[in-house]
Symmetry: C2
Subunit: 371 residues, 2 copies
């Protein structure tokens, strides 16, 4: 079995851009399929600019590559099935099917031995009472599909709020999850190769603002036992899905244990620190996996962090003046709420990391415009 | 003073390719000027494909960028002067003038307080005897200009060999340098910013085969005093040249002291390990410098090495199966003696580095074709 030389990537956003940049040194050419003419990934490979349902363009795309992957999991199912008839799609359909629907995702996690909070499906008015009985009056109502960055979610603080929240979300099929009073939000990013071998990155500690990731720290400030459990959970998920490529498992640390929140079946914002922070980035390991190559070391020699720039970017010189900082611009025009860049940080000790991180976070807070 | 957004790069080889890849995350667009239609750098920016003396193309190139740099120091002087009349060229003309001629280079090194071996200029038959008197009967005769990778050089082992060697080199203006019976070949890669601040990488230990770099190890296996002296010498050279950008100072360790051999006024093969091996690569620091941005940390958290692939490339899978190894392909078709890729290696200890390095070197020896 020889390695893929040309990889097709569905989606040409910043994740595609970073995948493409990591592929070039490996001698892998990327072809991006994205309807946006100014797709950020276009600097890192060929760009096919066509709608998601253009069968002729999809066929030409598939035929020009050895294997197909995605940086964007909401590709229409019919298009994906069409592509899968022409070239291998990695990760496979199972990874998408079990993560694009929050109910199936939670059921899968439970079956894989990964703890989840109580949850219930809501499809009709009759489901509301049962959901309250199962989950309780404090929870989060989310659409089963297509939510991201806090969109399609409503917090419920009392039993009487559930029905109005559901109406607010358009009475679409939803999941109602128990509110988890967490100590920390964490995530584990991990990659599985075509031969089944895995590479798991150090546990990451995340901070969200208005539902959007603001900053990550790696390794997370948790007990070793928690970090070890997170690694085990990541491996269970990778294997349970038969995943090929990188994914992220987002979890809460609550009362000293882990509770899984969701799976992103692709490279993830909470893994951006791995560029320069880990021995192999999540992007390079994803490309290695889908191309059928051996994975790289996911260890990190130092402490690392990442801060998102959302809706605005400071002068690059201001970022780079902070010791250990690097800038990762996506080439997108700033709009409120839009992720336009991130800043990575490394330091030889946790203390130095946190001191430098304060400066990076202050910079981000000055320019970020969330909505 | 605002940072450059578009940087023109003279030369589009692998050095340009790696410069361009490091520029993209910084939000810097690169424009490469290279007469070769298949220039390896074309994947990392816009490519102007025109001869070195095409004034119209040179002018269009210069006018499309904020600042100009080079990855190839043998750009015709007249073309460079023409470009310098349109946009700033960094590093400046002084760095090129003092390094493109081996006699002026050695004189500059001596004036900068960097030890050099005895040397003499040879331009006429009358110079031969004086050169032998100054340098002795064991030396190396090199053309004053345009030599690289061991080309344009003859070893002299007895007084009677000097005149025939000079004839062999076409009686071109030459330098005759005393042979240095060295213990190790080392180099120091360093960058100077527009504001005069500097970043010096750990000393590198090099091994050449048939005049071409085969592998580098960082940090070099030398006493701390030698490493500290190398850093001082690098700073003297950067400051003496008023250099802006990255350069490499190649030296010998002989009898426990350093003897400077030559300066490469650009990013250098012995700094390729800094991709993934140092906190900021030599390529990113060069781009930061020429764009007027602050430099990044040149420190290395672990042990690192680099092995060149010359004339052949193994299966990428074979490279990546070695722990800590990464592959850096240049997109060039293999020809004997042509550098087509390199492999980088990191390891947490020197012992592990050397054990893994044996495997990488064996791989390279199997595929390399030197001539």
């Amino acid at each position: 079995m020889s390695a893929a030389r040309t990889v097709g990537i569905l989606g040409g956003g910043q994740l595609g851009r970073m995948l493409g940049l990591s592929a070039i040194p490996l001698g892998i050419e990327c072809v991006f399929y994205d309807p946006a003419p100014d797709a950020p990934a276009r600097v890192a490979g060929r760009h096919i600019c066509a709608p998601w349902d253009d069968r002729a363009a999809l066929a030409a795309f598939a035929e020009s590559v050895d294997v197909i992957t995605f940086e964007f999991e909401n590709v229409p199912t019919a298009s994906l099935a069409f592509l899968a008839g022409i070239r291998p799609v990695r990760p496979g359909v199972r990874s998408l099917e079990l993560t694009c629907d929050r109910i199936r995702e939670k059921e899968f996690l439970r079956s894989a031995g990964v703890p989840v909070q109580p949850f219930a499906a809501i499809a009709t008015d009759a489901d509301l009472d049962l959901a309250l009985a199962t989950v309780g009056p404090h929870g989060v109502l989310k659409t089963r599909t297509l939510g991201y960055d806090g969109k399609g979610q409503r917090v419920v603080r009392a039993a009487a709020e559930l029905a109005p929240a559901w109406t607010d979300l358009g009475r679409r099929p939803c999941i109602y999850e128990a509110f988890v009073p967490f100590d920390r939000e964490v995530s584990v990013v991990a990659t599985r190769a075509l031969d089944g071998s895995t590479a798991v990155y150090p546990l990451v500690e995340n901070l969200h603002t208005h539902g959007i990731l603001f900053r990550s720290i790696a390794p997370a400030r948790v007990d070793d036992a928690i970090a070890a459990a997170a690694t085990r959970h990541a491996r269970s998920v990778l294997e349970g899905l038969g995943h090929v490529g990188t994914l992220a498992l987002e979890m809460f640390v609550a009362d000293g244990t882990l509770v899984a929140n969701e799976i992103a079946p692709r490279v993830h914002n909470s893994g951006h620190w791995t560029i320069g922070g880990a021995r192999t980035s999540q992007f390079e390991n994803h490309m290695r996996a889908v191309a059928g190559l051996p994975l790289g070391d996911a260890g990190a020699p130092e402490h690392a962090a990442m801060v998102n720039l959302i809706g605005g970017v400071p002068d690059t010189a201001e970022i780079l003046a902070i010791p250990g900082a690097s800038a990762h611009l996506y080439g997108k025009s700033p709009r409120p709420g839009r992720k336009v860049a991130h800043m990575n940080l490394v330091a030889p000790s946790r203390e130095e990391l946190l001191a430098r991180l304060e400066r990076l976070e202050a910079l981000a807070r000055r320019v970020n415009r969330l909505a």
